[in-house]
Point group: C2
């Protein structure tokens, strides 16, 4: 196992809840990668926090990283919006998400007169928002832009809810218009991710994630070494015939042992 570059999932891998509480061995893992000169990027679908705040919170919680060591959908979508001249947005998501788009120079409106409906996680989702989004898309031809294509998500209280991708597909079904996303394995996201690793050969790249289906399998298909960690939402019993990860570990420390 000769790994020179590592893609690291965040939720369920380095952190265990929405407050970004780290696992006990998360910082040791990062320190080990630095010592071994293994280039890494924390690749997340998180859209609750801005990239800046995500880095701040992780550092405060003891996971010491720089901003260029992280990639989130919010580091990807602004380029797309500018390229397509989509300036006026209806945003389904946290107040922090709305502030992010405003700080990036976009206009966030609570009306159907917009060019795009941006969909992130939203604990204040309601009927009024459904109406504004649907009408913007159907009557004003607004684009449907999902921050990721996650099907299902777990809240801190243990309850499940439809992921951003499932919410986007509801609007897509209603309006008969496709949605595009900016999460892991979207064209835009992966382009940015692999630019970062452009000096690392694909066969020296690894990924560690708790998500068998939307993370590990697609990266395996690209020839990347896949490490399945069971600290997150899936367990060993969830592995199907369809895809076997290259390595299964119970903790980040176990990866350190293997790479030492």
């Amino acid at each position: 196992m000769d790994i020179k570059g590592l893609i690291i999932d965040l939720d369920g891998v380095l952190t265990k809840d929405k407050a970004l509480t780290p696992f006990p061995d998360s910082q040791d893992f990062i320190s080990f990668l630095r010592k071994k000169n293994i280039k890494f990027k924390i690749a997340t679908n998180n859209s609750l926090y801005t990239p800046d705040n995500l880095v701040k919170k992780l550092n405060k919680n003891g996971i010491k990283i720089d901003k260029d060591e992280i990639i989130t959908p919010l580091l990807v979508i602004p380029d797309y919006l500018r390229k397509k001249d989509l300036k006026e947005l209806f945003v389904i998501g946290s107040e922090e998400l709305k502030s992010f788009f405003i700080s990036e120079g976009f206009t966030v409106k609570n009306s159907t007169e917009v060019k795009a409906v941006v969909i992130g996680q939203d604990k204040d989702f309601n009927f009024e928002k459904m109406k504004i989004a649907t009408t913007s898309i159907k009557e004003n031809n607004a684009e449907i832009l999902a921050l990721n294509k996650n099907l299902i998500t777990k809240d801190d209280d243990g309850l499940l809810f439809p992921g951003v991708g499932s919410v986007a597909s509801m609007f897509s079904n209603a309006t008969k218009k496709d949605y595009i996303h900016f999460g892991k394995n979207s064209d835009e996201y992966n382009k940015k991710l692999f630019e970062y690793f452009k000096d690392t050969p694909k066969n020296k790249l690894g990924i560690v994630s708790d998500d068998l289906f939307t993370d590990l399998k697609p990266f395996k298909d690209m020839g990347i070494f896949t490490i399945f960690i069971t600290t997150g939402k899936y367990k060993v019993k969830d592995i199907t015939e369809d895809f076997k990860p290259d390595l299964i570990v119970k903790s980040l420390s176990e990866i350190v042992d293997k790479l030492s």
Copy 2:
């Protein structure tokens, strides 16, 4: 045009808003059908009102019909629930909808410990309901039961929102579990509808509706004479190559003229 039985859509055909305000010629149309001995059934996907209240409101608004002249998803779903012994329900929908299930002997719970998630139109839809529904389905294997499969719906303020079918498909995507529905063209609904017309040959049956795609086309495929009325959500320009109705009218009075 020899019509002996007529299926009549409600919303956009006999009535024009959620308060069930009739078009000026609605009652004359019903009176004409009675005089000509044309057997009719008002077939709606409405799940905001109980069948009893729907009949009461129509009568009060001047459309004089009996309960056996109407069919709604709520006249169909209780049999299914009893047959499958699904007694405990989480209901997404109006307070009237919840009361209906209670009056039919079911237990309506605001928890994930249920056997089925019943989905109707809900102007108080929110994140909390999304969590209870998703968790019930994924963790407790609750069935996803949609009252109809409408893709999109228009509110009285002119804004559009995802139809019951689109909301059901969101939960279906999130949980990787299919949903079934009880609206027009579901097995259960059509079985009840065609029992009513069992003495009328299919080639003497007609349908009048404002919905080209989910109403008229499937009934045309069954050999039923299709009358497209442009008083509702679709216009003549919405007709595609895929399906041409047998007759296009601008009002119910025009049908009276043709059938006289």
